[in-house]
Each structure stands twice: as structure tokens, then as C-alpha cells.
Symmetry: C3
Subunit: 202 residues, 3 copies
Amino acid sequence: MYSFFDILDLLGTLAFAISGALAGRERRLDLFGMSILAFATAIGGGTVRDVMIGYTPVMWLTNLNYFFITLFGVFLAIIFYKKFNFLRYSLFLFDTIGIAVFTLIGIEKGMNVGLHPIICVTLGTITACFGGVIRDILANKIPIIFKQEIYATACILGGLMYYVLNYFELSKDILYIGTAGIIIVIRLLAVKYKWSLPFATV
Amino acid sequence: MYSFFDILDLLGTLAFAISGALAGRERRLDLFGMSILAFATAIGGGTVRDVMIGYTPVMWLTNLNYFFITLFGVFLAIIFYKKFNFLRYSLFLFDTIGIAVFTLIGIEKGMNVGLHPIICVTLGTITACFGGVIRDILANKIPIIFKQEIYATACILGGLMYYVLNYFELSKDILYIGTAGIIIVIRLLAVKYKWSLPFATV
Amino acid sequence: MYSFFDILDLLGTLAFAISGALAGRERRLDLFGMSILAFATAIGGGTVRDVMIGYTPVMWLTNLNYFFITLFGVFLAIIFYKKFNFLRYSLFLFDTIGIAVFTLIGIEKGMNVGLHPIICVTLGTITACFGGVIRDILANKIPIIFKQEIYATACILGGLMYYVLNYFELSKDILYIGTAGIIIVIRLLAVKYKWSLPFATV
């Protein structure tokens, strides 16, 4: 059976896959190029994390859900290509859920290997953000999150919240909801109020 | 002793190394840059595959043939730089043999780790194609196989053929010849008739 | 306690982190982008090496010094941004010490896993040079060391010296000083006299 958490993970993967496939379409790539960008975005962050901690074969090689969800994302991106202007907001919501859940997964994978909290938060941020970084590198652009409004910062702050809640030995449910909640709220506010980090001049 | 299969593997590696070194020469890189592009093209796909399945140290760290064949490819690329217009067709043939053999190696490595057939075909395709992807990223270009005529698709179809032949429990020889044959034939036809996947606009 | 060698390692890491952060600043990235470029430059080479030999979790996940030194480098790059024109020479010296020490670390890690000397020298060169390669790829440029004056070549020659000295069974101290010395001297001479490898046309 799938937990609520697994379903959010797959929703996030789907949103990331669609965003990757759309980026490929915009760069006028063919079906294969679109698919690679979708895979890179959806599973790139988790792959980098798993490879660095030595969790191999990496997650998507043994859990086929990631594979099929990503292909489904490519399919949706092709079918609804023109409609995605209208759907942009839902996509943004999914993406935001995605980075929240991916951050949590990254943190917990790091803890399972016994790594330091600071490193675990870093792994959470890598899981959430590096798919997009790889997507942009493959599309021959400077990664958008190096310049964009608050994105990775939301993951880092969520990660810190995780350890604050963990310190008070609250239940797993509260831990997850609190961490993901902070990430989602910061991300939504950052986009609404155009928060950005210093030094960026797009 | 080397098997016929090993020799094809080294021929493919050589073709990939030459293609990488030539790409470096065209981008006006120095000898080191040319060599890195040669190595990236020749062993990049296998390295990504080995790292993801956890087969470490990765293949070229323990089998020195890859190292010397790649250096030999750089040497040939320098010596025959101007002649490669005439040699282009042989190079294309070697490259096509290369992707066929690399696909087979990737599939079998995945099977050795007990992965699902779909994932094994993916690993075969990664082995065959990601060297070229890394070469293009290092040369600061959008990977050509994201836009080009049928290339990765030939590997994927060859991979499917592998499992069809495997299902009928045919001998290893037939399995290899059938799989590699399909890949080579599709690739040759794709280039001859300019087949391409949908959505590409170079 | 830290050995003299550890301190040189951290000095090199610091120089690499500053160079990465400055590159990010020049590309007008935000604080997060600058930090990622700093991390990529400082720990990228060691990460690629560890992942390929299967030494996981990779070094900076378990040794937090790399993490904090890199953040400190980002801090310095921001504070002294305008002063770094004057500090450029110290930075260049640190960087040169960095590649010498990183080469040594890479060679010895390879030897610990029982790899062939040629491969160990390659791993040393990767440790020293690939951080800069990843930095340039993330900044969407062709890696500078593919075109620049002698850089990786110094590491390769230093690596050969390591095995010459090792062959005569000299003490570790002489081994380290001789290897690092060769790298540093070649690098300094190469910059002073504008040595370059053939084929480069910047």
C-alpha cells in the first residue's frame, strides 16, 4: 500500500517531469530530448544524492514508479502543451509540494546513513533542487535557481525546522507537516512578494 | 584472450574517442581539452551506468584497455585530422558498432545486478548515448542526440529485441547478433532516410 | 590533531571556494548560486573521484571541515570582493598549493583501493581539476582548463614524479614535497612564461 507521503512523492515527481518535458519542448528538442529532460528533472536530484551517499542501485533503478510517472509526465506535457498556460498554477503548486517532499526524503536518507544534520539538510536541498539544475545544464542554460527568487532557501529553512521539531521529539506526522508546511509557505510567499537573495541581477 | 565481443567493444570505444577528440579540435581546445572530450565520449556512458548501479571502481579504473584505446583515439584524431573527411564513413560505421555493443554491455550489467528489463534497456541506452551527451555538455552545446535523427531510439528498440530473443531462450550468439543487428540496421536506415522523432526542429 | 598536510588541504579548499564564489559573483548569480559554484569548485573534484572509486559517503559528507571552509570562502568572497584584484596573487598561490595537495590526495586514495599507477595519477588530476570543470559547466562556459596554459599537465607530471620517488622508496615527506614541488614549480613557470599545450587557440 502507498502512504500519503508516497503519493505526494509521486505527485512531486510528476510535476518535475512535466516541467522538464516542457523545457525540452521550448528548446525544440525531439521526443527523446524531452524525455531525457523530464527524467533529469524528476529523478536527477535523488540520483545525485543516492550516488554520493552510496545508496546503489539508485532509487529509480529499483522502484519503477519513478520511471512510469516520469513517462506519464512526458505524455501529459505533449498532450496539454498549449493548455499549460492555464494549468501553470496547478503545476506550480505540484512543484512546490514536490520540493517539500523531496527535501524530507533527502534528509531522512542522510539520517539513515548516520550523517550530520547539516549534511542531511544539504542532501535534502540537493534532492529538491538538483533535478532542475541538471535540466538547465542539459538545456545549455545557467541554472535558473542560481538567480531566481527564494527556492533552495525554502528547502534549507524547512530542513532547519525539521531538526527543531525533531529536537522536541514530536511525532513523525507533525515533523513532516511542519517541515513541508514551512517550505511550501516560504515558497508561496517568496513568489507572491518577489523575495530574492542578495547579489542577483537577472 | 579477447573474445570477438571484447574486440567490438574496443572498436566502439576507439570510434567514440576519435569523435570526442575531433569535437575538441573543432572547438579549438588544447591537447588536454581534446583528451578530456575523448575520454568523456568513450567512457562517460559506462561511467554513469556503473556509478548508478554501484559497480565501483567503475570499469575503466580497473580495465586499462579503455584508457589506452582512448589515448590512441586522440593520437589518431591529431594525426589524421584533415583526412577524417574521407574517413568519416568508417568512423560512422565504428560509431554504429559502438552503440550496438555498448547497449548490449549496459543491458547485461543491469541484469547481473538483478534489475528489471525496462531498467536494463535504459541502462543500455545510457551506456551507448551518455558519453556523447557529456561530450556536448563539456563543449557547451545542447546534446546533439536530443535533436538528431534516430539514435537512442535504435538502442531502445535493440534492447526490446534482446528481451524478445531472450524470451525464446535462444543462444547467446543469436541474442547478441540479433540485438546488435537491429540497432545497426535501424541506425543506418535512419541516417539514409533521415528518419527523426516528432517535435524536433533543429 | 591536524597534520601540515591537512592544513594545506584546507587552504587549497579555501582558495578553490573563493574562486568559485567569485565566478558566481561575476556571472551575477545570487547568494545561493555563488555558494553552489563555491562548493562545486572546492569539493567537485574529490566528489567525482570518490563516486568513481566507490568511496561513499563521499569525503565532504563525513568530514565537515570541507563544508565550513567552503562557506567561509563564500563569506570572504563577498566581503573582499573589490579587494580581490589586489589579493589576486595570494589567491593564485593558494590555488596552486590546492592543485598540488589535491593531486596527492587523489593519487593516495587510488592506491588505497589498489588501482594501477596510471589510473591513480588520473584520479589525482581529476581531484585537482574537475572542481573547476564543474564550476565552468554550471556557469555555462567551456571549461577554462581545456584551453588555458599548463594546468592539468602540471598535475600529471607531478603524479609521474610521485611514482619515480616512490620507486626509490624515499620517505613520505620527501615523496609529498617532491610531488607538490614539481606541480607548483611547473604551474608557476607556465604562468610566468605563458606555456601552453598545442592546438589551443583561445
